[in-house]
Symmetry: D2
Subunit: 250 residues, 4 copies
Amino acid sequence: MLNEGDLIVLLSEDSKKYLIEYKIGSKFVFHLGIVELNQDLNYGDILTTSKGYRVFVLEPSNAEIMMNVKRKTNIIYPREAGYIITHTNLKNGSRVIETGTGSGAMTIMLSRVVGESGKVYTFERRKEHYEQALENIKKVKLKNVEFYLLDPAIEGYPVNNVDCAVIDVPEPWTLVSPAYKALKSGGFWASISPTIEQVIQTVEELKNQNFLDIRTIELLEREILVRKGKTRPKETMIGHIGYITIARKI
Amino acid sequence: MLNEGDLIVLLSEDSKKYLIEYKIGSKFVFHLGIVELNQDLNYGDILTTSKGYRVFVLEPSNAEIMMNVKRKTNIIYPREAGYIITHTNLKNGSRVIETGTGSGAMTIMLSRVVGESGKVYTFERRKEHYEQALENIKKVKLKNVEFYLLDPAIEGYPVNNVDCAVIDVPEPWTLVSPAYKALKSGGFWASISPTIEQVIQTVEELKNQNFLDIRTIELLEREILVRKGKTRPKETMIGHIGYITIARKI
Amino acid sequence: MLNEGDLIVLLSEDSKKYLIEYKIGSKFVFHLGIVELNQDLNYGDILTTSKGYRVFVLEPSNAEIMMNVKRKTNIIYPREAGYIITHTNLKNGSRVIETGTGSGAMTIMLSRVVGESGKVYTFERRKEHYEQALENIKKVKLKNVEFYLLDPAIEGYPVNNVDCAVIDVPEPWTLVSPAYKALKSGGFWASISPTIEQVIQTVEELKNQNFLDIRTIELLEREILVRKGKTRPKETMIGHIGYITIARKI
Amino acid sequence: MLNEGDLIVLLSEDSKKYLIEYKIGSKFVFHLGIVELNQDLNYGDILTTSKGYRVFVLEPSNAEIMMNVKRKTNIIYPREAGYIITHTNLKNGSRVIETGTGSGAMTIMLSRVVGESGKVYTFERRKEHYEQALENIKKVKLKNVEFYLLDPAIEGYPVNNVDCAVIDVPEPWTLVSPAYKALKSGGFWASISPTIEQVIQTVEELKNQNFLDIRTIELLEREILVRKGKTRPKETMIGHIGYITIARKI
C-alpha cells in the first residue's frame, strides 16, 4: 500500500510517463484527461481518466527517480552511475562517501544499492545545493544517508575506513588527499568530470597520492528504434556527459 | 580478516592484477617473483615478493569478480550490468528472476545489489552451465540466491510478484509470457542480446504481451589514456557486447 | 572574379555563416547590419556592414554546398560521402552512376571529385526530385553531370562499364542486378540506407548477384569543443545517418 | 591493359585480398595455390590457381592503395581522409599543400582527387620518410605531385595562394603561421593529431593567427556483420585514429 509522499509513475496508454508524488485526493491533469488519486492506491493499479483512457500506476525506476530530482546543478546520469557501481566495490552493506551532494540524484542511487546495512555519507559545500538535496531526498525516504554541509577539500572527511569515494565536483584533484585518508586500504575512488583538463589534473594527483590501477573511460549510449521493417538507431543522441576515472588506494 | 576461499586481487607495483582465491600457505608465482599467502591475511595488506617487489592484497571490484568467473558462455559485462541496475527498479531488497544463469557473473552482481533482504532466483536449462555457475558462485558465498535447473520457457517460473526479470538467453522472446506471469504489475523486463534480429523478435513479443515503455539501447565504452601531454582515447575498443531492451509489465 | 550566381559564404566576425548566391547589387541583411554585394566581388574580400562589422566573402566548402541544397528528401551527408569516396575507386576521371539523384547533394560532390575528365550519370524516378535537383545543381555549374528521369530498377542503366555505383534509394536491392550490368568488372557498389532491414536485404541480394568483398559500416562523428581549460565533447551529437554498404562486382 | 608496376588486387573466392604490383611472368603463391601473372592482364580478369580456385584481378580502391603504402610512420586513414576532402574545398583542380608527406598515403588520395588540373605540393623534413614516400608514390604514377625535402615550420612554404593545407605532423601549431601565408584568403586548414594536447595548442594558435570557423571532430567507425538472422556490430573496433581540426583563413 502506498503512503502519502511516495513517488509514482503514471504511464498513459500512449506511453507517456509522469513522475509525481502521491497525495490522497489530488487530481492529475494531462492530455488524456483527469485522474484522481484515491486512498489505498497501489503500484500496479489501473486508473481511468475523465476521457475514458487507462493510466497505469507504477513504481519508478532508479533512473526515473534520479532524473526527476529538482536540479540546480548537473547530475550524474543513471548510465554513469551504473558504471561506477559495477566497476567499484559498491554493494549491499558498503560505506561510501559522496562529494558533492549536488541535487542528490547519485545519493539516492547509492543509498538504494548499499541498503540499510550500508551507509552513504554525502558532503556539499554550497548551502543552496545542500538544502535542495535534503528536500529531494526527503521524498524518497532514505534511512542510510548522512548529510554534511562542509567542504572536505578544506576540512577533510569526518569518517574513515570507507569502501568507496564518489566524487563529482569541479576540482576533483582537491579531494584526492582527503579521500585517501578516508578510504580503507584497497578502497575505490570514482570521479566524474565533463572536461579533459579536469581529468588530466585529477589523474596526475591520483598518481602522486599513491592511488594505483587508475583508469578513465567515457560511455556513449545509442537508442535503437525497433520497429519491424524500419529498425535503426535514433537520429540524435547525447554526445557527452562526463569522463569517469576510477582508481584504487594502496 | 579474510577466510579461506575469499577472492583477493593481487596488485603489483607495475599495475598488473591477479584475481585469486585465498588459501593459507599457498604460493603465487609471477613475473616479479613469488609471494606466500600467510595466515591472518587482510584486504589492504602489503606483501613482498622473493625478488623484493611489493604486492598489494585488495578487495576485488564487482567487475573483477564478474569477469573472473569460469565461462562456458558469453557473460553480461559489468558495463551492461550497471545499465540494467540503474534503469530498472533493482535495489537493496528487490526480488529478481534471472535466466539463464550462464556462468553466474550477473547472478553475483544481482546478489550484491539486492542484499540479504532481497532474493535472486536464477534459472538455467543446461546442466553443464548450471554446475559451472554453482561452482563459480560458491566461491563468492552468496546467501540470497536460489538456483533452478529448469527451462522457464517450458515450465514457467515457480515464483511470482517479482520486481524484475533479467534475461540473457538466445531466444528471449520465449520468456516474455512466462516473465509476464512472474512479474508484479509495473515490474521490469531487462534482456540483452547480441544480434538485432533477436531484439526485433523480442520487442514484437513484448508489445504483444502487454509490456509498455519498451526501449532498446547499446553502450559504447572508450578508454582514455591520460598521460600528461599525450592524452588520447585508446586505439582499440570493444565494438559490441549486446543490445539491452528494457520494458515494463502493465 | 566571381560571376553572378556563384555561391559564396558570408562569414561574420562572430563566426556565423551564411551561404548565398552572388547577385550584383543585392543586399544581405542580418543581425550585424546590412552589406551590399558590389560588382567585382572576389573570394577573400572583406565587406563592412551598416553597423560597422566586418564580413568575409569566402568560397564554400564541399560540405557547405552539399548541406545547402534545397531538399525534399534526406541527403547523403558529407561525412558519409567522404567515406564512400575514399573506400571505392572514385577519383579524377572516374565514371559513376548515382541513383537516386534526390536533392543533388551527392551529385555535386561526385562531380567535384571526378572532374571534367570524368562523368556522373545520375538517375531519379520522381519528377519533383529530378526538377529540384536540376535547379540545385544549375547553381553550382557542373559540366560533367548527365541527368536521367527514369527508374533503373525497371529500365536498367543506359550506360555500361562504369567504375562505381552510388545508391541511395529506399529499396537498394532492386538496383543490385541493374548495377551489376552497368559496372565494369571489379567496379564498386556503394549504398546508404537508414534501416538495418534495408541493409540485410541488400546484402543478401549482393551475395546472390556475384558481388564480393561486401562490407557494411556506420560512422559516428563527435565534435570536440576545444577551449583552453574547458575542452570536452559537445553535449549532443547525431546518432545515425545511415549504414554504408560497399561491395565489388566480380 | 595493365602496365608493369600497376597495382592490382587479387581477390580469392573466399574473400581474401592481396594488393600486389603487376610484374609480367611473376607468380603469386598463397593458401589456395599458385597463379601466374601473364602478359595482357586486365582489371576484371579471372585467373585459376594451381589448385583449381578462381582469383579475380581487380582495381584497388583508394583505401586499399592508402593502407598498402610501406610505412615508417602512422598514416591518415581513408576514413579521416574522406572527412577532410568533403569538409574542405578540395576538388578536381585544387592546389593543396601537405605536410608531412609521411609515407605518402594521403598524398596519393589528394592527388587522385585534385586530378591533372590540380597540384599537390608535399613537404617532409625527414629524409628517410621523404625517400620512402617517393618510392611508394612512384608505384602509383602520380603526375601532379611535387615533393619537397624541407621543414616549412622553419623555411616557410615556397608556394602561395593555395586552396587548402593538410597537416599531419607532431607539432601542427608550428605550421599555422607558414600555412596562413601560403593559403589564399578563405583557404582551408585541415590537421589531424592523435592527442588532445596537440589539438588544444593548435586551436589556440589558429585563433591567434586569424583563422576562423575552427572546428574539431573525431570519427568512430563500426563495422556491422550482416548475416541473415545473426546481424550485429563487430566485436572489436578501432577506438581512435586522431582528432581532425578544420579552419579557414580570413
